[in-house]
């Protein structure tokens, strides 16, 4: 099954919250260095889906996952430790969540510092490099010691992306990363997402179908816990195969 052109291979994925099944038999393959958009109406299982990919769904007692997820051919549920999975699969949340007790620079390297205890010079370099990668360096280079919570919402979200990038993840999951932001900050993050795929693989949930069309290579449309359609973004938007997909992207429900 190992295949260079498959980064993530998801096979018959089911997920439950207690007795309530939130994902039903999801199968899809994601190519490396692409951006995949996950769209669908509220409650269709988008967040649950990506939280299975970094093994965060299982954290709540009573939640269950079945099926297989292969990351570069390795079964993330059977061959890998959950902590290793989360290091390789980064996540950016809807609400920017920098650590308010840490400086801007420390936020970027929080993971490295608390897991590997790298040396100070190296951490400073990593902080700078990743702040540059998210276009935040110029804005904060004189405020590196200030609290991460002192930034604007859009800056905080880019800081959170830098924090995820610092772990050098294979995949970055984003759960509606721009839904709490103003249009200018949203545009910056969209540019950033497009740039990220030279290094990593991005899976991004969005409620904004135009955003999906603008930034993604592939689009997955979910409905009631099922994957209805998964194809190149252009095909999904130009000639959707399912009438449900068509109704959703033309804004007739959801």
């Amino acid at each position: 099954m190992t295949n260079d052109s498959v980064k993530l291979d998801i096979l018959k994925l089911d997920a439950w919250f207690g007795d309530k099944q939130a994902l039903k038999g999801i199968s899809l393959r994601i190519k490396p260095k692409t951006v995949t958009a996950v769209i669908g109406p509220s409650g269709c299982g988008k967040s649950t889906f990506i939280r299975c990919i970094n093994r965060m769904h299982e954290l709540t007692p009573g939640n269950k996952v079945a099926g297989t997820i292969l990351l570069d051919g390795a079964d993330i549920y059977n061959d890998m430790d959950s902590m290793d999975v989360r290091r390789k699969v980064g996540m950016v949340f809807q609400k920017p969540n920098p650590f308010p007790n840490m400086s801007i620079a420390d936020n970027v390297v929080a993971g490295l510092k608390l897991i590997d205890a790298a040396d100070k010079k190296e951490l400073e370099e990593m902080a700078k490099e990743n702040l540059k990668a998210v276009g935040l360096w110029k804005e904060v280079e004189n405020d590196l010691k200030k609290s991460g919570a002192s930034l604007s919402g859009g800056q905080q979200q880019r800081l959170c992306i830098a924090r995820a990038l610092a772990m050098r993840p294979e995949i970055i999951l984003m759960d509606e990363p721009t839904s709490a932001l103003d249009p200018a900050s949203t545009a910056k993050i969209e540019e950033l997402v497009k740039a990220l795929k030279t290094e990593t693989t991005v899976i991004i949930i969005t409620h904004n179908v135009q955003q999906a069309a603008r930034i993604s290579d592939m689009t997955a449309f979910f409905y009631l816990g099922e994957l209805i359609e998964y194809d190149e973004t252009r095909s999904i938007f130009e000639s959707p195969k399912s009438p449900l997909t068509e109704r959703y992207i033309t804004g007739r429900f959801g």
């Binding site: 902590m83 999975v85 969540n97 650590f99 308010p100 929080a110 608390l114 919570a149 772990m167």
Partner: protein, 281 residues
């Protein structure tokens, strides 16, 4: 009509509660005023730098008692605060809703209601009767135990209100549980932990009963932490009842010092808890 009468009721209640508040703080201001009026004249350089004068002689100071209170409180804090923080951390981040944790939670709860004299008797029985002499260490042990529930509760409560967003962000980075708990959750909650620790320190600064059983008193500079040691609290107790006017005056002066210490801690707490940024908690 109804609007007007409701407005009047509002006003009545506002005035009434203001009046009651003023009545309630009068005794407090009276006590503080009394301590200042009586104690201020006792305070001079000799009072702050010298040991007590022998009976019948005037002059002397309470410097050994100031030092003793600080030493005993500091040792109590070194012992009580870490245990309190660990207990609070356990209750907030590790305890499930099971039997064991509810027993611990209930013990912490009732621990804080135990009269201080009981801690004194406990330390007396455990330490003083064993080593056969009064010792400052026993005092710190008793006071440290009294700090534990205060610090534990403050820690638990301030860690609990840290948003789960912080925990999830840390989990998503692959940070192990101990580091999430100590560096992230405790780090975000540190303001509340510091406040609780300072308040616990202020609380034990006023305790006298446990000291009567443990450190007792001394007219001289401390000779070691395993020896009897003067404290402001016990000095006030001894001198106020001594019958010598000079000593009674010095007891007032010592009371003033204690009041200043406690007020100063509360002012520091006010500063420490003033948020610098709108934190994401």
């Amino acid at each position: 009509m109804r609007m007007i009468s409701r407005k009047n009721t509002d006003r009545l209640i506002a005035w009434l509660s203001l009046a009651i508040t003023i009545i309630a703080i009068i005794p407090l201001l009276w006590i503080i005023g009394c301590v200042f009026a009586n104690g201020a004249s006792a305070i001079n350089l000799e009072f702050l730098t010298d040991t007590p004068a022998p009976y019948g002689e005037s002059g002397g100071g309470v410097a050994n008692a100031i030092l003793g209170t600080l030493v005993i409180n500091t040792m109590a804090s070194l012992f009580g605060i870490p245990i309190g923080v660990l207990t609070g951390m356990y209750l907030s981040e590790y305890a499930s809703s099971g039997k064991f944790s509810s027993v611990i939670r209930a013990s912490v709860e009732s621990f804080s209601g135990v009269p201080s004299i009981i801690f004194g008797i406990f330390a007396f029985t455990l330490i003083v009767t064993t080593v056969q002499h009064y010792t400052a260490l026993a005092a710190s042990f008793a006071l440290g135990l009294m700090m534990v529930p205060i610090v534990a509760k403050a820690t638990e409560e301030s860690m609990r209100v840290v948003s789960d967003d912080m925990r999830e962000a840390a989990i998503a980075l692959g940070i192990p549980k101990w580091a999430r708990t100590v560096k992230i959750v405790l780090g975000v909650a540190r303001g509340g932990v510091i406040t609780g620790s300072l308040l616990a320190f202020a609380r034990i600064s006023g305790e006298t009963a446990p000291l009567l059983f443990t450190s007792l008193f001394s007219f001289y500079w401390p000779t070691g932490i395993d020896q009897p040691m003067a404290t402001l609290q016990v000095l006030i107790y001894n001198f106020a009842l001594s019958g010598y006017p000079d000593r009674v005056l010095q007891a007032w002066g010592a009371s003033l010092l204690l009041v200043i210490l406690v007020v100063a801690i509360n002012v520091v707490v006010k500063f420490a808890t003033r948020p610098k940024y709108k934190e994401g908690v």
